[in-house]
């Protein structure tokens, strides 16, 4: 059992050595209605409902473009690892999901096809996308687009209806109200008002609310070593110290959604993925979405996934036709109307109950930075967990993250 990863790694290494670089440039001026062929589509599938919604969307595509056949091959298990193996074997699917957090790495590695030619020659209007989502799939200088966001999520406040109403507490809208709401809940006997993940993918929202930053991607410099960021990290750590918040690890749950489900915490900051989890595991716990509390400014984090085309795909024209349908107004409507995902386009209405999460996209910062960001994330999170457990402070967290950022920015 222990050998499997070693073997997989070795096989991937062997595969990496074989084969030449395929996939040349493809003409981008063509009539989509005349393109034919088979397109391999890959992604992950989180639930049967997602599978049903995707099937409905692909049926819509088949009705409009009957000449193109879609071969849907969902990936089981660890998606990025499987895809990296496919890239190194020079056999990527034609169209596939790209998570915003790995997009800079895959762009840098040359795994994704530039969409610029298609966008201009096929007159695809990208102005309908929320910029915070679209930006996640652009090159660092913003000039090249490598994917179009298929759906997105923002962090928002989810609170337990019964806990807040029995304590007579309104959902907080500012940082000060967060403290006072927490104290009121505590006084009313709620032992843990907030479940706060010790993760930059949550802390980051508060950093942006305070006017701080993480990395200036365009100018390749760190923004984490700034007074505004330091202040936000200190404030977040203080919530633990004051006993108003506990981390998911500390509560003994896999993530804060489970803390809400098991009513171990009254308020959490998560995204739309919470809804399907709660319906499946804790259907009797009633909760409500509210916008992120406002710091110095309104801000949250945006998590999104694109459809992209493999650079070594052999069917790029058909792939583009599929991609443009899936991320266009009609395709996205079919995909999101049942509520399995939230639209990334302003011209597709959100499904019932998803309004807060969709509106957050207006002030969302993309969860996508530079290639090698996972090292920055590890450095921040490791130091942050240490600080939360009493070994360190905001200063140690910032300096660990800054070292990792500088290392990534100085690399080739």
């Amino acid at each position: 059992m222990r050998r499997i990863p070693m073997l997989a790694a070795a096989l991937a290494l062997v595969a990496a050595g074989c084969g030449g670089s395929g996939g040349g440039s493809t003409a981008t001026t063509f009539d989509p209605a005349k393109v034919s062929g088979t397109v391999v589509l890959s992604g992950w599938q989180a639930s049967p409902e997602e599978g049903a919604a995707l099937k409905q969307t692909l049926d819509g595509f088949a009705a409009k473009y009957p000449k193109i056949k879609v071969d849907y091959q969902p990936v089981q298990g660890d998606y990025p690892t499987v895809m990296v193996a496919k890239f190194s074997a020079h056999q990527p699917p034609d169209v596939f999901y790209v998570d915003s957090s790995v997009a800079p790495d895959w762009i840098k590695q040359g795994a994704l096809e530039s969409l610029n030619g298609y966008l201009s020659d096929q007159h695809f209007d990208t102005s309908k996308f929320f910029p915070g989502y679209l930006g996640a799939f652009k090159s660092p200088d913003g000039s090249t687009t490598y994917g179009l966001p298929k759906d997105g999520n923002t962090l928002a406040l989810a609170y337990d209806n019964q806990m807040l109403s029995s304590a007579g507490v309104q959902p907080p809208t500012t940082w000060d109200e967060m403290i006072s709401a927490g104290q009121k809940l505590k006084a009313a006997g709620v032992s843990t008002p907030y479940c706060l993940a010790d993760d930059l993918a949550r802390v980051g929202a508060f950093i942006y609310q305070n006017g701080g930053g993480i990395i200036d991607v365009k100018n390749r410099r760190d923004l984490i070593d700034s007074p505004a960021t330091r202040q936000a990290v200190t404030w977040y750590l203080d919530l633990y110290k004051q006993g108003l918040a506990r981390s998911d690890k500390d509560l003994g749950v896999a993530w804060c959604g489970e803390a809400l489900g098991r009513q171990k915490a009254a308020m959490i900051f998560e995204g739309g993925w919470l809804d399907s989890f709660m319906q499946g595991s804790y259907p009797n716990v009633k909760y409500t979405w509210a916008p992120m509390p406002k710091g110095k400014q309104q801000a949250t984090l945006g998590f999104t996934v694109s459809y992209s085309i493999g650079k070594e795909s052999a069917h790029k024209q058909a792939a583009w036709v599929l991609l443009s349908y899936l991320t266009g107004q009609d395709g996205m409507k079919l995909w999101t109307q049942g509520g399995v995902a939230n639209p990334t386009r302003t011209d597709v209405p959100p499904a019932a109950g998803k309004d807060v999460l969709v509106q957050g996209a207006k002030y969302a910062h993309p969860w996508s930075f530079v290639a090698g960001f996972s090292k920055v994330l590890d450095a921040f999170n490791n130091a942050f967990t240490g600080a939360e457990q009493g070994n360190g402070s905001a200063d140690t967290v910032i300096s660990a993250a800054k070292t990792a950022i500088d290392q990534q920015l100085s690399g080739p």
């Binding site: 790694a9 070795a10 062997v14 490791n382």
Partner: protein, 308 residues
């Protein structure tokens, strides 16, 4: 006579050829996928090697970076610390279980299966189960409460796997439990090879149970000690799955669960630095090889002496 001898020889060589033919395919596969992959990993450890981009020969650069990489240092320290604690515990527990199972008359098959079960059950399933048991509100803390302790007042707030100070130790306990069954089987086989007349003679000479164990059983098991020690050290230095499931690919919390194989995986599949990952793998290989040679020096001579 000569004809008969020749016929014997040809028959033997024909049998030998048939034998080699039978193993040819698996042996070739083994050579390609084990030695081939090993050689190839050694080769690319001298290159800057990513997914699709250009590769470049960098000489020993990857190894130089490795020597100065604090995350790798942490991974080596964690792996070695883990092996140093886990291996003796596994051996001791395996030996005790084997001796106990070997002596009971009633339900021997049941106990043997029960002790061996964790070793054959999926380690992923067992680890997930263990995470629930060791959770702050899990079974383990509940038992501590029944004994009168209050885990939430402990320095780790009863958070065994989530706290950097106790995470690796908790995984050690898990693995001693799950793998001691395998060690028990090795020792059981060894125990059955000890001639019973040795014990009879010792009884006649007036040796007690304790003396019989230390003077006969323990030294006669020398070949088993060697086998168990080698497999156990290799297994310990290759710790991956339990650490990955409990702490993710960065060895959370705070790199407490970062092992060498986990770091290799992280570097290859999250950072895409395959050349660097290959260098990590080669260093891991060197460490395991050196550890095995050392054990051969230490146990190998003992087991030879016992066999003489």
């Amino acid at each position: 006579m000569i004809r008969a001898a020749r016929r014997g020889r040809t028959q033997r060589s024909r049998e030998a050829i048939a034998g080699y033919l039978f193993v040819a395919i698996p042996l070739t596969l083994y050579a390609v996928y084990q030695f081939g992959a090993l050689g190839y990993a050694f080769f690319i450890s001298f290159w800057r090697w990513e997914i699709l981009g250009p590769t470049a020969f960098v000489g020993p650069h990857n190894y130089q970076v490795l020597l100065a990489d604090p995350a790798f240092h942490r991974a080596v320290v964690n792996s070695v610390y883990y092996a140093v604690v886990v291996v003796p515990c596994q051996m001791a527990l395996g030996l005790v279980l084997a001796v106990v199972v070997n002596q009971i008359w009633f339900g021997r098959g049941f106990f043997r299966a029960a002790f061996y079960f964790p070793a054959i059950a999926s380690s992923a399933a067992i680890t997930v189960l263990y995470i629930y048991i060791m959770a702050p509100d899990g079974l383990f803390n509940h038992l501590l409460q029944l004994l009168g302790a209050n885990p939430s007042l402990f320095w780790n707030r009863g958070n065994w796997l989530g706290n950097g100070a106790t995470a690796l130790q908790s995984i050690m306990v898990l693995n001693v439990w799950t793998t001691s069954g395998t060690m028990m089987l090795f020792y059981l086989a060894g125990l059955q090879a000890i001639p019973t007349d040795l014990y009879e003679q010792a009884s006649v000479d007036g040796a007690g149970t304790w003396q019989r164990f230390w003077r006969i059983t323990f030294p006669m098991l020398a070949p088993s000690h060697y086998l168990v020690a080698v497999t156990s050290v290799i297994g310990a230095l290759q710790l991956f799955d339990q650490a990955y499931i409990a702490g993710g690919s960065d060895g959370n919390p705070n790199q407490a669960l970062l092992t060498m194989v986990l770091y290799l995986y992280d570097v290859a599949f999250r950072q895409f630095e395959f050349g660097y990952a290959a260098a990590v793998g080669i260093v891991l290989f060197a460490i395991i090889f050196a550890a095995t040679l050392l054990q051969r020096r230490f146990f190998g001579e003992v087991s030879w002496a016992a066999a003489q």
